[in-house]
Every structure is written in C-alpha cells, then in structure tokens.
C-alpha cells in the first residue's frame, strides 16, 4: 500500500511540476520583444486562472484553511495586478518597465503555484507553505 501511494505521489508531482509537457497558447514565435511580453502575459493569465480555480476547489473540499485561503488568494490577486500593470505599460510602449512587472507577476505566481503543494487533507492542521 505504501509503495503504491509513494509511486502515485511521485507520478502526480512529476507530471504536475515538470514531466508532462504543456502546450503553449501561441504557436507563433514572437518577432519582437513586445510580442514576447504579450505572449508571456497570456500564459501568465491562463496560469493565474488555473491556480485560482484549483484553490477554489481545494477550499470547497475543505483542504485549505481560511487563513491560508486569505493569504494565498491575496498572492494571486497581486500577481494579476502586476500583470495588468505590465499590460498597461506595454500599451504605452514602456517595454523595459513592463518586463520588470512581468517578472514580478511571475514570481508571485510561482509562489502561488508552489503553495498548491502545501495543501493537506481536511483533518490536518495546515503548516506554513512549503517552498521548493
């Protein structure tokens, strides 16, 4: 039983984090840095939506505490705000500042995604998020 669970853990974690290739939204390679930034924002917005959806489901399942929900959704909101600021900067042609905002949004998103790995079953007391 332990062996089966261990194997399942390894498979899910590997698929979720690295093993399973993810299809990009855009097939075309960006021709300019502006296009690259816009494509990065599209990928980021898709990832934020997915993380929000999963966190919502985990909370409904009773796997996330109120305290962690408050903290984690704030991180996702901040990532979305940074992405919107980056979009606004791109719209006015300020590429370098936009790239900084995109990096900030990506860092917040990374934190949010890694927190999904800290979700525990309903009966557990939730520890601080695990950063890997």
């Amino acid at each position: 039983m332990k062996l089966i669970l261990t194997l399942l853990c390894a498979i899910f974690a590997a698929l979720a984090l690295t093993g399973c290739p993810t299809q990009p939204i855009h097939d075309t390679k960006p021709e300019t840095p502006q296009q690259a930034a816009k494509q990065a924002l599209d990928e980021m917005n898709a990832a934020i939506a997915a993380a929000a959806s999963t966190l919502l489901q985990a909370y409904k399942d009773g796997a996330v505490s109120d305290a962690n929900l408050k903290d984690w959704r704030q991180t996702l909101n901040e990532a979305a705000e940074a992405a919107d600021k980056a979009q606004a900067l791109l719209d006015v042609g300020d590429l370098s500042t936009a790239q900084g905002k995109i990096a900030a949004a990506q860092a917040l998103l990374n934190v949010a995604q890694k927190r999904l790995l800290a979700i525990k079953k309903k009966s557990s007391s939730l520890p601080e998020p695990i950063y890997i």
Binding site: C9, K38, N45, A46, I48, L69, R73, L116, K121, S124
Partner: protein, 65 residues
Amino acid sequence: MNEQLIDLLLAGIYAYEAKLTRDEIVEAARKQFADGATPEQVSQFLRELRDAKLAELNSIELGSN
C-alpha cells in the same frame, strides 16, 4: 507515515489538477485562434477568464469552511 504519504498524494493531485485546468484554458484559447480570433481578442478572453476566477475566489466569505 501513512498520513504523510496521503498528504503528499493529495498535494500532488491538486498540483496536477491545476495543470489540467491550465491545459483546458490553453485549449480554449487555441480554439479561439483557430476560429479566427485576433491575438488581442484572445488576450482579452484570458484576462476576463482570470478575473472571473479571481472574483469567484474573492467572493468566498472567510469562515464558511
């Protein structure tokens, strides 16, 4: 030991679920491209989807769990 393994398994499942959800969103965006949408329209679709999911998440009143 068993409890730790189950916790790990559950965490892996949620992480994998996030990946599957993202794949569904990407598929929807790619379908829009295939249907003739412009990059700006697809970007707008993704922003609106993101905002809708966040709004749902933000509407949860703490203490309801």
